[in-house]
Symmetry: C2
Subunit: 101 residues, 2 copies
DNA sequence: CTATTATAGTTACTCACACTAACTATTACC
DNA sequence: GGTAATAGTTAGTGTGAGTAACTATAATAG
C-alpha cells in the first residue's frame, strides 16, 4: 500500500520486484487487501497484466495508518537525533550494498 | 549454541528467557541440534529439569561457524568505522528500550 | 505467418518459525 | 499432605514466503 500510494498503480511483477519477493506472495497479499476493499485490479493494455491500485477507501485507510505508524516511529526514536537517524540509514544502505555484491 | 558456548550449560527455560521465545520453540530446536550431535542433555539435580550443553563436536562446529560468521560480518561492515558501529549498536539498544516501555 | 519462446499471473504444495493450550512429572509451600 | 508452581513435551494452529507447474497472452525468429 505504501508503494501504490507513493508510486501509483502497479503490476504484480512490479510490486514483487519492489518488495523483493516472488509473484505468488504478491497474488496472495493483493487478494487479501482486495477482499478488505483496499485495492482494486484493472486490466492493463496488455491483456496478460493487471494493474493494481488503491481504492478511495484504501487511500483513506493508508493515510490513517500512516499517522499511527509515524507516531510510533517518533516514540521509538526518542533520544536519537535527526542527524544520528540519517547516519544510521546511510550505514544500513551501505550494509545492504555490501551484502548484494 | 552461542549462548551455551559463552555461558555454559543451561535449561530449556533459561534458553527461552535468553532468546525471548516460548519453551516449545526451545524443545524443538534443542532436539534438532541434538540429532545433529551438537548438543546433549543431562539431568540437573532437580529431576524436572534437563541441563543442555554443547558436545565436543558441537563446540568444534560452533567455533568453525563462528569464524565464517565473523568473516561475513567484516565483509558486510566494509566502509563503516568501528566508531560508527558502536554508535549504531547504542542506537539500536535505545530503540529496543523505547519499544519495551 | 506460424512455431517457439518469453512474460504475467495463478494454483497447489511445501517449508520454516513460532505461538497457545493442554498435558505429564516433579518440586515447593501453607 | 494437598494445592500450587515449575520444567518440559505434545498437538494443533497461524503467518509468511518459496518452488513447480499451469493458463493465457504477447513477442520474435525462421
Amino acid at each position: 500500500m505504501y508503494y501504490l500510494y507513493n508510486y501509483g498503480a502497479a503490476t504484480n511483477v512490479g510490486i514483487s520486484h519492489y518488495q523483493g519477493v516472488e509473484k505468488p506472495t504478491i497474488t496472495r497479499n493483493v487478494n487479501r487487501l482486495e477482499e478488505l476493499g483496499y485495492l482494486e485490479q484493472v486490466k492493463g493494455k496488455d491483456n496478460r497484466e493487471k494493474r493494481i491500485q488503491l481504492t478511495k477507501f484504501g487511500i483513506t485507510i493508508y493515510e490513517d495508518v500512516r499517522v499511527t505508524i509515524d507516531q510510533f516511529e517518533q516514540e521509538i526514536l526518542g533520544g536519537i537525533t535527526e542527524e544520528e537517524q540519517l547516519k544510521m540509514i546511510r550505514m544500513m544502505k551501505e550494509i545492504r550494498n555490501n551484502i548484494m555484491k
